[in-house]
C-alpha cells in the first residue's frame, strides 16, 4: 500500500519519528503479557488508524486479508498451546499491523525512500549505494503490477491457443516480455539522466 494524499496530523509528523515509534512500540508489544493491556493497545491503534483519515477503500482489502490470516493463526495457536496465548499473539500482531498501516498510509513514498537512504547510508563504507538500493526497491513496487498485467495477457493468449495449462508456454513469453520491459526501462533511465553515482546532496 502506498500513501495517497493524506493530510491528517500523522502526515505532518516526520517519517523518522513515525518509523522510530513503530519500531519501539513493536518491540514493547512483545514485553507485555497482559491480554487486557494488549486489547487496550489494539483499540488505541485502531483509533489511531481511524484518526488518520485514510480512505476506507484503501484499507478494505488488506484488513480482510490480515483478519483471515490472523484468524487461522489464532485457531492453530489455540489448538497447539492455549487460547489465552493465542489471543495475546493475535492482539500483538493486529496492533502492529494497524500501527504499520497508520505509518505507511500517512507517509509519502518519496519520504520513505529518503528515510531509507539515510538509515542505509552506512552501507557506503562497504561499497554499497543506498540510492541505488532505494531506486531498485521503488522500481520493484512500480513494476509488480506491470508484470502481473503481462502475466494475465500471456495467460489469456495461451488460453486462446489451448495452452493455458502448459507452464512452459506461459513462462517463456513472460520471461521474454519481462526482459523487453527491463531493456526499455533501462533505456528510459538513461534518457532521463539517471546517474548511478548519486548527486552530492544525495550522498
Amino acid at each position: 500500500m502506498i500513501a495517497a494524499n493524506n493530510s491528517s496530523y500523522l502526515a505532518r509528523i516526520k517519517p523518522g519519528w513515525k518509523f522510530g515509534a513503530l519500531l519501539v512500540l513493536s518491540i514493547a508489544l512483545y514485553l507485555i503479557t497482559s491480554w487486557i493491556v494488549l486489547l487496550a493497545l489494539f483499540i488505541a491503534s485502531a483509533g489511531l488508524l481511524l484518526s488518520a483519515r485514510v480512505d476506507p477503500k484503501q484499507l478494505r482489502l488488506p484488513l480482510i486479508s490480515i483478519t483471515v490470516i490472523l484468524g487461522i493463526v489464532f485457531v492453530l495457536l489455540g489448538i497447539q498451546t492455549d487460547w489465552l496465548n493465542a489471543l495475546r499473539s493475535v492482539l500483538r500482531l493486529l496492533t502492529m499491523c494497524l500501527l504499520a498501516y497508520s505509518v505507511s498510509l500517512t507517509t509519502k513514498f518519496e519520504a520513505m525512500l529518503e528515510l531509507f537512504q539515510q538509515v542505509a547510508s552506512p552501507i557506503r563504507f562497504v561499497g554499497g549505494n543506498p540510492a541505488q538500493i532505494a531506486l531498485a526497491f521503488s522500481m520493484t513496487i512500480r513494476f509488480i503490477p506491470e508484470l502481473k498485467k503481462v502475466y494475465v495477457e500471456v495467460r489469456e493468449a495461451q488460453h486462446a491457443r489451448g495452452l493455458a495449462n502448459n507452464p512452459l508456454a506461459v513462462t517463456v513469453p513472460l520471461v521474454i516480455r519481462s526482459l523487453k520491459i527491463a531493456e526499455e526501462t533501462a533505456e528510459a533511465l538513461d534518457a532521463r539522466g539517471y546517474d548511478s553515482d548519486p548527486a552530492p546532496h544525495q550522498r
Binding site: 513514498f109 528510459a188 534518457a191
Partner: protein, 229 residues
C-alpha cells in the same frame, strides 16, 4: 526559445553486420520535424542518436555543438525522449515522484523540484493525477505523465518515438494538441501521418537512408508512393 542545432555527419549505425543507418548527413534546425518510414527502416535508431541513447558506428552527432559520444549527460538534459510505451518509461510508483525523478538526477533542491512538478502538471492539465499510483493510469494518462516527466526537465528539444501508437483517438488528439503547444523543438517519429500536417519538415527514411526530406505534404505523398511500389 533558442533551439540548438542538431547535426548528423556521415552517420552510420550497424548492429552486428546489419546496417541500420547508412551515411546519413542532415542538420535539424526547424521547430517541428517529423520522421516517417516503414518498420525497420531505421527511424527509431535515428531518433535514439539524437540524445545519445545510440552512438553512431561511424560519423558523429552534434547537439548544440556537443558530440553525443563525449557529452551524453549534457545532451540528455537538452534532448528529452518520450518512448512509444509510456508504461515502461514511468519509473516511480507515484506520478508526482516520477516527474520529480529526472529533476532529482539534476540535483535540484526539493523546493524547486516540487515547484516544477506542480507547474508541469498544471501545464498539461493533469494536476489531478499527482498522487495517483502509476499503474492505475490509463494509456492516455500514462503518455501525458511520460511527457510531463520530460517537460519538467525543461529540455529544448523533445524526441517522440511513435507516441500515438498505443492511444485511442481522443488521447491521440490531446497529445497532438500538447505537441502543437510546445515551445520546444519536437521531433516526432510516427506512422500517424495526420499528426505531421502542420510540421515544417518531414524526413522519409527508407532502408537506412533519407529517401526524402521536405515539406509534409510532399513527404507523405512520397511515402505513400513508396509504400504502394
Amino acid at each position: 526559445m533558442d533551439l540548438p542545432s542538431i547535426r548528423l555527419e556521415n552517420v552510420s549505425v550497424r548492429y552486428d553486420d546489419r546496417a541500420v543507418l547508412r551515411d546519413v548527413s542532415i542538420s535539424l534546425d526547424e521547430q517541428r520535424i517529423g520522421v516517417i518510414g516503414a518498420n525497420g527502416a531505421g527511424k527509431s535508431t535515428l531518433s535514439r542518436l539524437l540524445n545519445g541513447l545510440v552512438l553512431p558506428t561511424d560519423g558523429a552527432v552534434h547537439v548544440g555543438g556537443l558530440n553525443t559520444r563525449q557529452h551524453s549527460k549534457q545532451i540528455r538534459r537538452e534532448v528529452g525522449f518520450v518512448f512509444q510505451n509510456p508504461a515502461n518509461q514511468i519509473i516511480m510508483p507515484i506520478v508526482s515522484d516520477d516527474i520529480a525523478f529526472g529533476l532529482k538526477n539534476l540535483s535540484l533542491p526539493k523546493s524547486e523540484r516540487q515547484q516544477r512538478v506542480a507547474e508541469t502538471l498544471d501545464e498539461l492539465n493533469i494536476s489531478h493525477l499527482a498522487d495517483r499510483e502509476s499503474h492505475t493510469l490509463s494509456g492516455g494518462e500514462q503518455q501525458m505523465v511520460a511527457l510531463a516527466s520530460v517537460l519538467a526537465m525543461q529540455p529544448r528539444t523533445i524526441v517522440f518515438d511513435e507516441p500515438t501508437t498505443m492511444l485511442d483517438l481522443r488521447n491521440r488528439l490531446a497529445l497532438q494538441h500538447e505537441i502543437a503547444k510546445l515551445s520546444q523543438r519536437a521531433i516526432v517519429v510516427t506512422h500517424d501521418l495526420e499528426i505531421l500536417e502542420d510540421f515544417e519538415r518531414v524526413l522519409v527514411i527508407t532502408d537506412g537512408t533519407i529517401a526524402f526530406d521536405g515539406d509534409p505534404a510532399e513527404a507523405i505523398a512520397h511515402y505513400r508512393q513508396w509504400s504502394h511500389a
